[in-house]
């Protein structure tokens, strides 16, 4: 075809839409290339398998040949006993799950509100901006355990009328207070990464300040901070257990009770497995959702 000297015209026949390649057969070069790629992939898979086998195998050998392995196995991995106490732990995990749902929803809303206040520019909101900043500074800085103790034991001590003394509710409130401060900062950082030109484009379409936030800024911001938010959610699932110091029975507390009875630590391992059974699928699911939505949005992202 084109060879830079002179001119020419090519196959002019298919003025119809793309031909869909029914008649096309790969050339010998392409076939050789495919075989080479396949061989390389096979080689890579083999290397991956061998290296995994070597590393994991070594770890396993080090573990089971260590002097205390038998004792450790009997204290931490007594599976029969573990399955015996599993229902109690799962029951306790119900508390974690419920608290996560309630606290998670509240944290999302409250954290978003704080983030919006902190990123707002309206002069009327100045005192709120000030308060929101103090709130975040304070509750992000205090260990959550202290907040739980302060709220859980402090508020009942005030003997206010009409205020609950239920430690479950107070503990949950403490968790919400602390986590909202974290989440507000994560969302705020997401909002700040949305380019000002996006806001300009939305405002010039006639969208109000709030509509711009709702339809243009927040969707982009939240998508960007989904991974760190997921971090916080997973941490929340685990940290709901902290309110057990107020006397609530969660999965860890349930395991602790069983351990205290038998002096065998297998219930702790079971509790760990229960947490993993929830957090790992959650992480994978969110990862996939995020990847799909980015792939739909970004053309030619690969390289």
């Amino acid at each position: 075809m084109s060879d830079n000297r002179g001119r020419g015209t090519g196959d002019n026949s298919s003025s119809a839409p793309y031909d869909f390649g029914g008649a096309w057969q790969p050339s010998e070069i392409e076939i050789a290339r495919r075989i080479a790629r396949k061989n390389r992939n096979r080689k890579n898979a083999l290397i991956a398998a061998l290296s995994s086998l070597l590393v994991l195998g070594t770890l396993l050998v080090v573990l089971v040949t260590s002097p205390g392995w038998i004792t450790l196995r009997d204290t931490f991995f007594k599976w029969a006993y573990g399955f015996e106490v599993l229902p109690k732990i799962i029951l306790g995990f119900g508390t974690n799950a419920t608290l996560t749902l309630i606290a998670g929803t509240s944290v999302a809303l409250f954290g978003l509100l704080i983030a919006l206040i902190r990123t707002s520019r309206s002069p009327a909101l100045t005192p709120f901006r000030f308060l929101a900043t103090i709130y975040v500074d304070v509750f992000r800085g205090i260990p959550m355990l202290l907040v739980i103790l302060l709220v859980g034991f402090g508020i009942p001590a005030l003997q206010l009328k009409g205020v609950t003394n239920n430690v479950l509710i107070l503990g949950t409130i403490a968790v919400i207070i602390t986590y909202s401060a974290y989440v507000a900062e994560v969302i705020r950082s997401g909002i700040l990464t949305v380019h000002p030109s996006q806001r300009a484009a939305a405002r010039s379409l006639g969208l109000s300040h709030f509509q711009t936030l709702r339809h243009v800024v927040l969707p982009q911001a939240l998508k960007r901070v989904t991974p760190p938010l997921l971090n916080d959610l997973v941490a929340l699932i685990k940290d709901t257990g902290l309110i057990s110091i107020l006397g609530v029975t969660d999965a860890i507390r349930a395991a602790q009770i069983q351990t205290a009875k038998s002096f065998n630590y297998t219930p702790y391992v079971m509790a760990a497995l229960v947490f993993l059974a929830v957090t790992i699928p959650l992480t994978r699911m969110t990862d996939r959702m995020l990847r799909n939505s980015l792939e739909r949005q970004n053309a030619q992202g690969q390289a």
Binding site: M1, S2, D3, N4, R5, G6, R7, G8, T9, G10, D11, N12, S14, S15, P17, Y18, D19, F20, G21, W24, P26, S27, I29, E30, R33, R34, A36, R37, R40, Q300, Q302, A303
Partner: protein, 254 residues
């Protein structure tokens, strides 16, 4: 196809084919770009120009055919794309400057990190290039602060800083207004005078006429007509080529 005896072309593409799923976007693409030559691809949006450039830059895996850079088959399975790209420069329609770096930092990134040139030398060279293209005073600015034309010129300088064998320009003026188009195009003209080997996808017919050694008309994934710029642009033989050029003409860009 008389290459025997002549120097090896900088780029030689043979029977290239690329499809996305069932949709064949490029087929039977064959052409060469000799040293110091500029080959211009014209054609409607969706005719495959960008995909062709992305294939050459190994951003896409071709389905068939070969791409040779200085005689070396860069479409082979065992090629390291990073090594190939050291010899290629690419400028994108949307500039793709790194917004978190200043102009200077954008330019010296590849020389210092990829080619291992010392910071001082890279900066000196960057200032040289900036000076030449009249952007010396923008060195410490962030890309977002520059006009589109300035950004695109910085993007060109960024790709030049690596001394590429071949420069790929992918509709580099499509996102610019006509006034800014000129400053970018004159930069490219200057490169042409200096002998830079280039492949250019563009809608600017006047510009094509000035810099091209060869114009190829890409239509639905095939090179339908090719030849010297005056002939293709002024006396096209095929109805499709005429149609396209007339449409661009009507749009006021000739």
């Amino acid at each position: 196809m008389s290459e025997s005896g002549m120097n090896t072309p900088v780029l030689r593409v043979e029977k290239l084919r690329k499809s996305f799923g069932d949709e064949v976007v490029l087929q039977d693409i064959t052409f060469s770009v000799p040293e110091h030559a500029a080959t211009v691809f014209i054609g409607a949006s969706g005719s495959g120009k960008s995909t062709l450039l992305r294939c050459i830059n190994l951003l896409e895996q071709v389905d068939d055919g070969t791409i040779r850079l200085d005689g070396e088959d860069i479409s082979a399975a065992d090629v390291n794309p990073d090594e190939v790209r050291k010899k290629l420069g690419m400028v994108f329609q949307a500039f793709n400057l790194f917004p978190h770096m200043t102009v200077l930092e954008n330019i010296i990134l590849a020389p210092t990190k990829v080619q291992g040139i010392g910071a001082e030398e890279a900066i000196a060279e960057a200032f040289n290039l900036l000076e030449r293209f009249g952007l010396r005073d923008k060195a410490d600015q962030y890309p977002d602060r520059l006009s589109g034309g300035q950004q695109q010129r910085v993007a060109i300088i960024r790709s030049l800083s690596r001394h590429p064998r071949l420069l790929l320009l992918d509709e580099i003026t499509s996102a610019l207004d006509p006034v800014l188009v000129n400053e970018v195009l004159s930069t490219v003209r200057e490169l042409k005078v200096e002998g830079m080997t280039m492949i250019i996808a563009t809608h600017e017919m006047g510009f094509a006429k000035q810099v091209a050694n060869e114009v190829c008309f890409l239509h639905k994934g095939k090179i339908l007509e090719w030849g010297p710029p005056e002939e293709i642009l002024e006396t096209p033989r095929l109805a499709q080529t005429r149609d396209f050029i007339n449409r661009v003409h009507d749009a006021g860009r000739l």
